[in-house]
């Protein structure tokens, strides 16, 4: 999806956990995330709510 959107002319940053998949498929900008079930949140830093 990252590639097709970029192909249409819009730069995309792909935030993902398994970066090798994104690299293999060919995303241009890859931001490694924290973990598969919570890519953009560190569950250790949730103030004891989780």
């Amino acid at each position: 999806m990252a590639k097709e959107i970029e192909r249409a002319g819009i730069p995309v940053a792909h935030v993902c956990s398994i970066i090798t998949i994104s690299q293999t498929v060919g995303a241009n900008r890859i931001v490694p995330s924290i973990a598969i079930p919570h890519p953009l949140g560190n569950r250790k830093n949730c103030g004891g709510t989780c």
Binding site: M1, A2, E4, E6, G9, I10, H14, C16, C50
Partner: protein, 356 residues
């Protein structure tokens, strides 16, 4: 298979373009479709080779259409010509070979694809770089040909051998054995040797510099030229897209938890954060506990709102979501093309795509 059915005379219809139909070259590419009784051009070679392979066939008709005319009027040509072809009651339809002629390849593929669901076997041949290959390989058996007419005899021979198998309902072997392109169909079978022995054998061959053949080719992915990075975020509109399955609670579009066939478009207007009661994960490929507790962990609208104020960009008021779990590359491409068209129309200048 009885001898009677094996020896009966088969009826074949042949589809060709204006050149092989004997009308003319590019200057005649706009010619409307018409039908010739009997074989024409390469059709005679087909008949000869069928005879050499001991199959009694007759090319009962040749349908000719200009390449440009077909490309410009595909729907109409198929609507009118498929009944014409069916009217000849063919046992098999052969189209081409199209070699590396792009419009011809697309036409051959389209004709074959239209016939197969009607129970009429249809085969074509083209060069590996013909755009018709990617378009129709999954639905149509396509024999590999050279890139120009010098490979006519070889292509027709392979088409004839494959055609005979289809006429007689015989088993189609592997694409390599048949000389055709893979259709992406996997068949399970018991191998005499277990996988570990085959893997070691392959590895030893590789180490020794010998030839070896993979049992599963790694798919080829093309590359996209990176678009220039944004120099300044001020005034830029950024959209959020996710394959992590974050949807409004209740999953209103019923996006599948695996092998998604659709995506959703949902509002972000006025939302400072995503909450358990308003959003959830529909993804079946990871433990949803943390995403359901705080959906911002997959679709970070909370942080985007903070950065929006700090950096002066604007978050697009809609986000797009699907489930990336087992979703086919074809579907993902289709979703993204549609999403990109909408984002372009809406003036979005950058996308953050989050995946789990």
């Amino acid at each position: 298979m009885t001898e009677a059915s094996r020896n009966r005379k088969y009826r074949i219809v042949h589809y060709v373009n204006q050149f092989f139909g004997g009308v003319g070259g590019e200057e005649k590419a706009d010619i409307e479709p018409f039908t010739i009784k009997g074989p024409q051009g390469p059709g005679r070679l087909f008949e000869k080779m069928f005879r050499e392979e001991n199959a009694d066939v007759e090319i009962v008709a040749t349908v000719v259409c200009g390449d440009s005319y077909f490309a410009d009027h595909q729907e109409n040509v198929l609507r009118e010509q498929i009944p014409v072809i069916r009217g000849y009651d063919p046992d098999l339809v052969v189209a081409g070979p199209a070699f590396n002629a792009g419009r011809y390849g697309m036409a051959c593929g389209a004709v074959c694809q239209a016939l197969e669901p009607m129970g009429i076997p249809a085969i074509t041949a083209m060069y590996k770089e013909n755009p018709g290959l990617d378009q129709y390989r999954k639905a149509v058996l396509i024999v590999e040909s050279a890139n120009n007419v010098s490979g006519m005899e070889d292509a027709v021979r392979k088409m004839v051998r494959l055609g005979i198998k289809r006429l007689r309902g015989e088993k189609i072997e592997s694409p390599k054995a048949e000389g055709c392109f893979e259709q992406g169909i996997r068949q399970n079978y018991f191998h005499e040797e277990p996988a570990y022995l085959r893997a070691i054998d392959m590895l030893l061959r590789k180490i020794n510099g010998e030839t070896f053949e993979t049992e599963y080719s790694i798919p080829f992915f093309d590359r996209v030229e990176p678009r220039p990075a944004l120099a300044d975020l001020k005034g830029v509109t950024i959209a959020l897209v996710t394959s992590g399955g974050i949807v409004p609670t209740g999953n209103p579009d019923h996006i599948e938890s695996s092998s998604a066939s659709k995506y959703g478009k949902y509002p972000l207007e006025g939302l400072e954060t995503l909450e358990t009661k308003t959003h959830q994960s529909a993804h079946g490929g990871y433990d949803n506990t943390y995403a359901n507790e705080d959906p911002n962990r997959v679709l970070p609208i909370d942080m985007m709102r903070k950065l929006e104020k700090a950096l002066g960009f604007k978050v697009h008021p809609w986000y797009y979501a699907t489930v990336g779990n087992g979703t086919s590359v074809d579907n993902a491409q289709k979703f993204a093309k549609e999403i990109a068209a909408e984002l372009t129309r809406d003036g979005v200048q950058a996308v953050i795509l989050t995946s789990t």
